[in-house]
C-alpha cells in the first residue's frame, strides 16, 4: 500500500497529456508522468517520491511506436525493456537492456522510465549516447527534436511539463560492431557494479559507462585516450582514467578501488574483443 493516494489519468494523445499536466499544475497538484511505474511505486512506498496525479503515457500511440521510418529506427518511450530485448532491431540496445533488473521486472520497466528515472544507473541510455541518437520531447511549448548528447547531462534535461516521446537512431549505427558488459558484485540480477557499452564506428571505438560515477556518461577525452594506437591497452586505459568526470563511486555495491580494478579489466577485455589494434 502507498502512504498516499493519487488521481490516475490515461491520455490518448500527446496534446491531451501536456494539457492535462498544465491543468493539474494550475490546480496546484503535483502531477507525474508514468511509464512502467516501478520506480514511482517502489520509491513512493518509501516516501521518496510524492505525486497526487499520475499521467500514464502508455495510451499514447507515438509512445508505443517501434520500427523503421526511412533510414531511422523509432523507439517509443513506453515500450517495455522486455519488448526491446526480444525484438533485436538494435542489438546493442537489446544486449544492454536485457541486463537491467530481471526478466519479470523488465516486462514492466519502460525505456523512457529507465532513461528519465531518479535511480541513477539508467543503463539503457548508454547505446543511445554511443549512436548519436536524437530524442523527441513534447511539452507545453511544442515538440522538439534534440541530439541526446546535447540534452543528456547526467540525466535527460526536461523542462517542467515535458516528457520523452521517442528515441530515434540512424540505421547505420544498428549493425556496428558492439559489446555491452555488466559486472555485478553478486547474484545474476539487479544493479551493476558497473556497465560499459561500446560501439565501433569507422575504426573509432566509443564507450559509455554506468555505475562508474553517480550518473551515466560518455567522455570524448576518455575515448581519445582509449583509441590512442601509439599506446598499449594498459596505458590507454590508465591514461583514460585521468579524464573520469568525477571521483569513482564508493558505495555498498563496491569500493572505488575495486571499481577501478574491475573497470580496467573490463576495458581491456572490450578492447581485445572489439579490435583495438594494440601497439606492439
Amino acid at each position: 500500500m502507498l502512504p498516499y493516494n493519487f488521481d490516475y489519468y490515461k491520455p490518448q494523445s500527446i496534446k491531451e497529456a501536456i494539457e492535462l499536466y498544465q491543468l493539474l499544475k494550475l490546480q496546484e497538484k503535483k502531477p507525474m508522468y508514468y511509464g512502467g511505474g516501478t520506480e514511482i511505486l517502489t520509491l513512493g512506498r518509501l516516501n521518496f517520491i510524492y505525486t497526487d496525479a499520475i499521467i500514464d503515457l502508455k495510451g499514447i500511440p507515438e509512445c508505443n511506436a517501434f520500427g523503421f521510418q526511412h533510414q531511422e529506427l523509432i523507439i517509443g518511450s513506453t515500450l517495455s525493456l522486455r519488448a526491446i530485448e526480444e525484438n533485436k532491431l538494435f542489438p546493442l540496445l537489446s544486449d544492454t537492456s536485457k541486463e537491467v533488473a530481471d526478466y519479470t521486472s523488465r516486462n514492466k520497466i519502460t525505456i523512457g522510465g529507465n532513461i528519465c528515472g531518479q535511480i541513477f544507473y539508467r543503463e539503457s541510455v548508454l547505446p543511445f549516447l554511443l549512436s548519436n541518437s536524437t530524442v523527441i520531447i513534447a511539452g507545453p511549448k511544442g515538440t522538439r527534436k534534440e541530439f541526446i548528447n546535447e540534452v543528456f547531462h547526467k540525466e535527460l534535461r526536461l523542462d517542467e511539463g515535458e516528457f520523452l516521446v521517442q528515441i530515434v537512431t540512424e540505421k547505420e549505427y544498428l549493425k556496428a560492431k558492439h559489446i555491452s558488459v555488466k559486472k555485478r558484485q553478486q547474484w545474476k540480477t539487479g544493479y551493476p557494479l558497473l556497465t560499459v557499452a561500446s560501439l565501433k564506428k569507422e575504426g573509432f571505438i566509443r564507450f559509455a559507462f554506468s555505475g562508474v560515477c553517480p550518473y551515466p556518461f560518455r567522455s570524448i577525452q576518455m575515448e581519445n585516450k582509449l583509441n590512442d594506437k601509439s599506446l598499449s591497452f594498459k596505458d590507454r586505459i590508465l591514461t583514460s582514467f585521468e579524464y573520469l568526470p568525477t571521483p569513482v563511486l564508493n558505495d555498498i555495491e563496491g569500493s572505488n578501488e575495486y571499481r577501478l580494478f574491475v573497470l580496467e579489466n573490463t576495458l581491456s577485455y572490450i578492447l581485445s574483443y572489439i579490435g583495438g589494434e594494440e601497439h606492439e
Binding site: 490518448q12 511505474g37 517502489t42 522486455r82 533488473a101 530481471d102 526478466y103 519479470t104 547474484w187
Partner: protein, 165 residues
Amino acid sequence: MNSHSADRKVTIQLEINKEQYERDILASDILLDVLRDKIGLTGAKPGCLNGDCGACTVIMNKQPMKSCLMLAIEAIDSEILTIEGLKNTPIQRAFVEHFAFQCGYCTSGFIMICQALLLNDRNPSPEKIETWLSSNICRCTGYKEIEKAIYSVIELLNIKNQTNQ
C-alpha cells in the same frame, strides 16, 4: 481519456482466472493488495514489495508480472492468472515430487514464473530457464530442486508432444 480520482472509490472490473470480479478500489491501489484484500486470492505473496523477490508474481496476458510493481487500474482489460487458477498443472506436481520447497513462501511465485515460461516456450533453453527463474528469490531451498521440477515438466511436455504427432 480514462481518469480516476484519488478522493473517491472507483469501480473496476478485473478478469482473474477466467472469472470477472467487480470491486471498488482507489486509483492508487496496488494490484497485489487488491488481489489479496479485496478479492481474497492470497496466493500471490507480499515479500520485498520492491520488485526484487518475485513472491507476488502473477501471469498477465501470458507474461509474468510482479503484482507489487503495478496498479490494479493498469490490469483492466488483461487476462490475469494467479496460482489459484492453476488446477492440477504438471508444474505443481513437479514441485512436490522434486522437493522444490521448504517453507513454501516463495513457491507460488516460482510456480507462476515456471508456468509463464512453459506457456511461452515448451522447450526453453537452459539459458532461458536461468534468465526467467532469476526473477525470483528463494531463501530456503536450493535452486537445483526448482530447476529439476521445471526440467521434468519440459520432458513430460515433449514426450506428450511426440506421442501426439
